[in-house]
Structures are given as structure tokens and as C-alpha cells.
């Protein structure tokens, strides 16, 4: 049904290649509106050009007096657009209900937006910064945000939903083409809004489960320092702690192991394993001078083995 005007890559002139069950349906509505629009635009341009040429001002020729209104004609161009916009409304609405109503037995992934990355939590507790999904399985996302409003947008799937702090929103899709697709943040969220890009990776049948198992066991597979680096990214630590020496909301991680300094209450400290462990699990108890007590606790959110890996990673960040 969709007749692309010009082919661009796999997609059409207007749309990226459809990669979800919803996409062809949305594109059909788009195409219908496009044809209606082209028809009316051509009509307007044609009438305008015809009148300009036919009735161009000539010396000695005056405008011909015609009726100043015509009820029948005016009703016609009221009623025809009315019928057309009703059809467009109906198509848009039914298409939307399809986008808004997930089938039963969806695979559910929790999504958190934060400045400036997406975090995806799978049913087994694994956290990843890209969204991996199986092919031909309806997936339902439960979205929220940790700070400001973000918006989860996958152009290839034609889906978008805001991630709002303090509430949950939902979105579902079913991928029909294996491959990798962009996830953009579509609600302006500050400095790196345009770099808040994740990938959706659609795995062919059978491979998704394998990927999830592998990914979940990264602590066993990877060297502790590498696993720690991955955790630092997926748990959002780097949002406040730089690794290049710049002071941010929290102290920099660069050269942190072995650093000496003063707490707000005047006590002196030296950073070693137990200090880091306390700082992660009970961050409010010891605040480094010059910083605000804003870090949330990770008690219950990180396992001992994960904290050990993170400490190993911090040891590698030498000045």
C-alpha cells in the first residue's frame, strides 16, 4: 500500500524503514494524509496560478463584478473538508489505540531516563545501557525518569513516550526486523540531550536468551576492574563523578584511591576499600568538604561482588 515517492536506503522519502508491527500501520495513515494534502495543495496552487494568469491586470480592463457570496459553494468547501478530517481523525485514533494497547503476555523491561542516558532493567535484574529485545515478541516498556522529563523515541518503530519523574508511563512494540536501531531522547533535557542516544538491538529467535544470560554473568566473565567500569556506567555514577579530574556534583574519581582530605565535620580521611564501601552504601554519613549531601544510597541495589569490582576499577584511575 505505501507508495514511496523516492526510495532512501531501506526507507521511503519520508519515513525510515519500518521495523515494528506498528510502523506499516502508522505509515498507511501518514500516506493517506499525505495524498489528501497533496491533492488540496495542488488544487490551491493550480487555482491561484490560473487566476493570476487569466485575470492579470490589463489596462482598460476592470474586474468583473461577481457574487460576493454563494451559500452552496461555501457549504461545499465546509462539508468536504469536514468529512475528510473526520476520516483522518478516525484513522489516527484507531492507529493510536493499537499503539496504546499491548497484547497479553508481553516481555517487560523497565526503563529509566536520566541526564543523559537510558538504563534498561530486565526481569532477571540485569541492567544494560542498550535495549536488547527478541524478534517477533511484543515488548512492553515501563518508563520513568530520575531527574527531568525525557522522551523515549525509536523512529524505526514509530513509537515515542515521555519518561516523567515521579510517575510511570508505558509503551509497547513488536520488532519485525532483526538489526540495530537508534533510541533518541525527544524531550529537551539539557547539555547532552542530543547525545542521549541508546541502541535497540533486535536479536533473531533464540539469540536473545543467550545474550541475556551472557550479559547477566559479566561479573564471572570479565576482569573485576572491567566489570566495575561497566557498573559505574550502568548505575549512573559517572553522572556526578567525573573520571577526568573535573569537579562535578561529586568529587572526581580520577586518582581517588589513596587520596587524603577533610570531611565537612572536620575529620580527616584517606580513601581505601572500606571508605569506598561506606561511601556507596551510606553516603550521607561522610560528606567531603565542598560538596552537598545529595548522593542516594545504593544499599540493596548493589551486591558485595559488584562493589568489589567497582573498587578495583577505581584503583585503575590513577592521576
Amino acid at each position: 500500500m505505501p507508495i514511496p515517492l523516492i526510495r532512501f536506503g531501506d526507507g521511503s522519502f519520508w519515513m525510515p524503514a519500518p521495523a515494528s508491527t506498528a510502523a506499516p500501520a502508522v505509515d498507511r495513515v501518514f500516506d493517506f494524509i499525505l495524498y489528501v494534502s497533496i491533492f488540496f495543495f495542488v488544487l490551491i496552487v493550480a487555482l491561484m496560478l490560473f487566476f493570476i494568469i487569466r485575470y492579470h491586470r490589463r489596462r482598460g480592463v476592470e474586474a468583473e463584478k461577481t457574487a460576493t457570496h454563494h451559500t452552496g459553494l461555501e457549504l461545499t468547501w465546509t462539508v468536504i473538508p469536514l468529512i475528510l478530517v473526520f476520516i483522518i481523525f478516525y484513522l489516527g485514533f484507531t492507529g493510536y489505540m493499537n499503539l496504546a494497547t499491548p497484547p497479553a503476555n508481553t516481555y517487560e523491561v523497565n526503563v529509566v531516563g536520566q541526564k543523559w542516558k537510558w538504563l534498561f532493567t530486565y526481569p532477571n535484574g540485569h541492567v544494560d545501557d542498550n535495549l536488547h529485545v527478541p524478534l517477533n515478541v511484543p515488548v512492553r516498556l515501563v518508563l520513568t525518569s530520575e531527574d527531568v522529563i525525557h522522551s523515549f523515541f525509536v523512529p524505526a518503530f514509530r513509537v515515542k513516550k515521555d519518561a516523567v519523574p515521579g510517575r510511570y508511563t508505558h509503551l509497547w512494540f513488536e520488532a519485525i526486523e532483526p538489526g540495530e536501531y537508534d533510541v533518541f531522547c525527544a524531550e529537551y533535557c539539557g547539555t547532552s540531550h542530543s547525545d542521549m542516544i541508546a541502541r535497540v538491538i533486535v536479536h533473531p529467535p533464540g539469540e536473545f536468551e543467550k545474550w541475556l544470560e551472557d550479559a547477566s554473568n559479566f561479573l564471572e566473565r570479565m576482569a573485576p576492574a572491567d566489570a566495575g567500569a561497566k557498573l559505574m556506567t550502568t548505575r549512573g555514577c559517572k553522572q556526578c563523578h567525573s573520571i577526568d579530574g573535573k569537579s562535578n556534583i561529586g568529587p572526581t574519581f580520577l586518582g581517588i584511591y589513596g587520596r587524603e582530605g577533610v570531611f565537612k565535620d572536620g575529620r580527616r580521611y584517606t580513601v581505601e576499600e572500606n571508605y569506598i564501601r561506606r561511601a556507596i552504601l551510606d553516603p550521607q554519613s561522610e560528606i567531603v568538604a565542598g560538596y552537598e549531601p545529595v548522593m542516594p544510597t545504593y544499599k540493596g541495589r548493589l551486591k558485595d561482588q559488584e562493589i568489589t569490582a567497582m573498587i578495583e576499577y577505581l584503583k585503575t584511575l590513577k592521576e
Binding site: 494534502s37 487555482l47 487566476f51 473526520f86 485514533f93 527531568v148 522529563i149 516523567v164 519523574p165
Partner: protein, 548 residues
């Protein structure tokens, strides 16, 4: 009678010096001051637009860093919306033309009118000061909780917008009272020029919707300064509530912008086709219909916000209802041209550009009003292109048309037709190059407010930037032509275009008091009784020429 006095004394020569302008009660001088201020901010907003387009020539950094870019696009939006488009046509041309069109000496409340201009200046100062204090980076929409947590000068900018709101309300009150109370003998509601019907409808929205923006911005300031939780979920507030409040004003505000532009269109199409406007009543009442419906569609900005499906359905349906009065107007304008005697003077070129560009702007609105397609297109460049086609292709183009139409009346000088047409042509070409490419990149998935972008969008961005430079050149030609005309232009006759509305019955420029006594108003679109008189280079009533 008016011929000799007009030469001796017109509103421009009536009093000299800064005080005679800045504290004047003359609606014409206030209109001219508004025009100068508004045009200044159009250029400033345009300058920010050029910075944006230059930065987007390449992905990643081209000329500025991400934080600067975020401030620049916010300033572009805020300056263009609050300081150019919203006051735009009503404050500059409405103020100048409305009383003369009514054959009156001034608006109903001249002091309130001056206060409205002074508030505009104060509001503008607050907005400009916010640039110096660390420009806002929230986007012109100030969405919470971003706007309540960012470290930039949100308070100064919102205070500026709050004050500008009052300026807008005062103008609205003045216009409504003036139109009700000061129509001349013979001008029934059905003989009110359509530009005034449009200003009247606009004024209704200004008075009813603007207070909501004021309250919303105050709540925002209260939350930022006092930490009272209204919108910020960390304080127990609701960020989506802010969006409801904001769009409850800002969607009607879209019609504050477009309705006066449509009013200008009705005048231009009729005059330059030398035809009575077709379907007067339908055009007049559709303005009022748009004003009323504009209050019921704000939720269409929030289809992906998590708003309920029922809410989305209702807002989508109501949104489509606005398409009908807009379509009626477009077809009535076309029908006006039928069997006319059409001249493509500069104002008419802008009117025809409006038909095409606003046509595209309106039709692409259908994609955004339909729920299924809006989910994909929301917050992409498709939306950016859509509102530039309506706001710039519609309002700005009509503003330029109005400027070229009333320029001889305002300053008593004719500009060069050749340069005027060239500028109009360049605006049309540059505009389409800039914004049509944005439709395509938007539906291909390019989100708006992006500093950086993935490589596959670059060719569209390059096209768009080239278009922006063409537009900049067009504006240099346009401004140069108009400024040149002030010094070297041929003296304008009272009625250069052959219009039948009353402002063309007094001299160009009008005397201080406009009319010695209220003129008799006839049908504002009865153009047949006016014929071209070569000895004065303009139009004069048929009987007068035969008598002479």
C-alpha cells in the same frame, strides 16, 4: 480641506524630540514605536536563528558548545514568540490602523495604550537582561522540572514574559472597547473591515488566555524562589500539570499570532484583485470560531506525555475542528481572486506566499492532529517545520505584507517596487529551502532541540542552512529598500493601492487628528467606485474625478 493641512502638519511632524515620541498618546506614533521595536527584535531573533543554522551545518561542534547552543535556541524562541510574533501585527499595524480604519481620532484609552508600550519595553529589558545574567537554556516553553532546576536566569526571563503579557492584555482591552464604541456612522458589524474582525477575535484571546500564562509563570517563579512544590515531583508537584497550564495559554496564543495575519490577508487579496471580498460573513465568523475553538485544543501538545487515551482522543477530535474555519478562509480568498484584476505588487506577493506557505503549514497540521502519526512526529523537526510554516510562512509573511501595504500610509513614501518584489521572491525561496528539508528530516526521525545529530541527517541540515542564508540576504534587501524609501522614496498619494477602507481616505501620512470630522463609512470592499488617477499617482473616488 485635508490636502493643504496634511502637507503642513502630519503626525510625524507634529511635535519633535524624544519626549514627544516616548510619551505620546497618539496611536500612530505608538504604532510606529511598536513597529520599530518589534522589527528590532525580529532582527535579533533572526540573528539567533542564523547562529543555530550555522551551528547545525555539521554534527558536533561547528561554532559553539552545547550549553551555548541551548541558550541560543531558547533565546531565538523566546524573542521571536514574546517580542515579535505575539505583539507583531496587532501592536504595530493594529495600533496604527485600527482607529483610522474606524474614522476615529484615537483608540478608546490612549493612556492605557501608551502604558502597554511602556510595559513592552520593560518586559523586553527583563528578557534582554536575562541574556546578560546567563541566558536561559530551557527552551521557550520553560518545561518543568528542567526549568525549576537549571542554573540559568529563568526568573528574569519569565518575569519578562509575565510583564509582556500585561502589555498584550491592555492592547486587547483597548481594541475591543474601541471597536465596540467608536465605529463611525454607517459602519455596522457587517461593514467592519475583516482586519478589524480579526483583531477583535485576537483581543478576545489576549484577554482571556494571557492571565493563565501570567499565573503559570508566577507559580514557576514561586517554586524556584520559595521551593513550594507545584510542578517539581521532588517537592510533591506534578510536571505534566505545568504543561497543561502552559499550553492552555500558549495554544490560543498561536491564534493570537495567526488571526491578525489572516485579517491582513483578507484586505490584501481583495484590494490587489480589485474585487469585493468573497464570503465576508464566513471569513468574519470563522475568525471568531477559531478564537473560541483555540481554547479547547491545548492537549494536542501532550499526546505522548502520558495523558489518558480518552483525553488524547478528545483533543485530537477538537483539533481537527480548527481545520474547518481555516479551510473556509483559504477557499474564500481564492474565490475573491476569481475574475478579478490582479496586480502582483509587493504586498500581493506576500499574500500569495502566505496562501502557499500557510497552506502547507495547515495541511501538515493534519499529520500532527492525527494521533497515530503524531506519536512518531511529535518533538521532531517535522513539528519545527510545521510551526515555522504557520508562524513564519503565515504570520511573518503577513507581517511583511502588511508592512509593505501600510508603509506609504505610515511614512508617506513609496518604496521601490522592484526591490520589494525581489525581496519577497528571495524570502519565499529561502524560506522553503530552510524549512521544507526540515519536514523530511523530521519524519525520518530527527528530534528537535538537538545540538548534535547522527550523520545521516546532515544533507538536510546543509540545505536548511543554505536556505537560512538566502533568507538573511532577503532581509537585507527588504530593510534596505524600506529605509531607502524614507529618504529617497516618491511621495505617497493618499490611496496608492485603491483600497476602500477608511484609513486610505485621509492623507499619507495622516494628520495628527486623522479626520477633522468622522467620515461616513460604506462597504469596505466596494472597490469599484475608486479609479486610478495618473495626476496623483493613486486612486480617487470616481465621482471626484468626473467632477474635476
Amino acid at each position: 480641506m485635508n490636502g493643504s493641512t496634511a502637507v503642513a502638519d502630519n503626525y510625524l511632524s507634529h511635535g519633535r524630540g524624544f519626549r514627544s515620541w516616548f510619551f505620546t498618546l497618539d496611536h500612530k506614533r505608538i504604532g510606529v514605536m511598536y513597529l520599530a521595536s518589534i522589527f528590532f527584535f525580529l532582527i535579533l531573533g533572526g540573528f539567533f536563528a542564523m547562529l543555530i543554522r550555522t551551528e547545525l551545518l555539521t554534527p558536533g561542534r561547528t561554532i559553539m558548545d552545547a550549553d551555548t547552543y541551548n541558550q541560543v535556541f531558547t533565546l531565538h524562541g523566546a524573542v521571536m514568540i514574546f517580542l515579535f510574533i505575539i505583539p507583531g501585527i496587532p501592536a504595530a499595524f493594529g495600533n496604527f490602523v485600527l482607529p483610522v480604519m474606524l474614522g476615529a481620532k484615537d483608540v478608546a484609552f490612549p493612556r492605557l495604550n501608551l502604558l502597554s508600550y511602556h510595559l513592552y519595553v520593560v518586559g523586553a529589558i527583563f528578557s534582554v537582561v536575562s541574556i546578560l545574567l546567563g541566558a536561559v537554556d530551557t527552551g521557550w516553553t520553560f518545561y518543568t522540572p528542567y526549568s525549576t532546576t537549571t542554573h540559568t536566569s529563568v526568573v528574569s526571563m519569565t518575569l519578562g514574559a509575565f510583564i509582556l503579557g500585561f502589555s498584550s492584555i491592555f492592547t486587547g482591552i483597548n481594541f475591543i472597547v474601541t471597536i465596540h464604541r467608536m465605529r463611525p456612522p454607517g459602519m455596522s458589524w457587517n461593514r467592519l473591515p475583516l482586519f478589524l474582525w480579526a483583531l477583535y477575535s485576537t483581543a478576545i484571546i489576549q484577554i482571556l488566555a494571557t492571565p493563565v500564562l501570567g499565573i503559570t509563570l508566577l507559580l514557576l517563579i514561586v517554586e524556584r524562589l520559595l521551593g513550594i512544590g507545584i510542578f517539581d515531583p521532588a517537592l510533591g508537584g506534578d510536571p505534566v500539570l505545568y504543561q497543561h497550564f502552559f499550553w492552555f495559554y500558549s495554544h490560543p496564543a498561536v491564534y493570537i499570532m495567526i488571526l491578525p495575519a489572516m485579517g491582513v490577508m483578507s484586505e490584501l487579496i481583495s484590494v490587489f484583485s480589485r474585487k469585493h471580498i468573497f464570503g465576508y460573513k464566513a471569513i468574519a465568523y470563522s475568525s471568531v470560531a477559531i478564537a473560541v475553538l483555540s481554547f479547547l485544543v491545548w492537549g494536542h501538545h501532550m499526546f505522548t506525555s502520558g495523558q489518558s487515551d480518552l483525553g488524547n482522543m478528545i483533543f485530537s477530535a477538537l483539533t481537527f475542528s480548527v481545520a474547518i474555519p481555516s479551510a473556509i478562509k483559504v477557499f474564500n480568498w481564492l474565490a475573491t481572486m476569481y475574475k478579478g484584476s490582479i496586480r502582483l505588487d509587493t504586498p500581493m506577493l506576500y499574500a500569495l506566499s502566505f496562501l502557499l506557505l500557510f497552506g502547507i503549514g495547515g495541511l501538515t497540521g493534519l499529520f500532527l492532529g492525527a494521533l497515530a502519526t503524531d506519536v512518531h512526529l511529535h518533538d521532531t523537526y517535522f513539528v519545527v517545520a510545521h510551526f515555522h510554516y504557520t508562524m513564519m510562512g503565515g504570520v511573518l509573511i503577513a507581517f511583511l505584507g502588511a508592512m509593505h501595504y501600510w508603509w506609504p500610509k505610515m511614512f508617506g513614501r513609496m518604496y521601490s517596487e522592484k526591490a520589494g518584489r525581489l525581496a519577497a521572491f528571495l524570502v519565499f525561496v529561502g524560506f522553503n529551502l530552510t524549512f521544507f528539508s526540515q519536514f523530511v528530516m523530521g519524519s525520518q526521525g530527527m528530534p528537535r532541540r538537538y545540538y548534535n545529530y547522527v550523520d545521516r541527517f546532515q544533507s538536510y541540515h546543509v540545505l536548511s542552512t543554505i536556505g537560512a542564508y538566502v533568507l538573511a540576504i532577503a532581509f537585507v534587501v527588504l530593510a534596505g529598500n524600506l529605509i531607502h524609501s524614507l529618504f529617497r522614496g516618491r511621495k505617497a498619494p493618499a490611496n496608492p493601492w485603491g483600497s476602500a477602507t477608511l484609513e486610505w481616505m485621509c492623507a499619507s501620512p495622516p494628520p495628527h487628528d486623522n479626520f477633522a470630522e468622522p467620515p461616513e463609512a460604506g462597504d469596505p470592499y466596494d472597490l469599484e467606485h475608486l479609479v486610478y488617477d495618473e495626476s496623483i499617482g493613486g486612486y480617487a473616488p470616481r465621482t471626484a474625478r468626473e467632477g474635476a
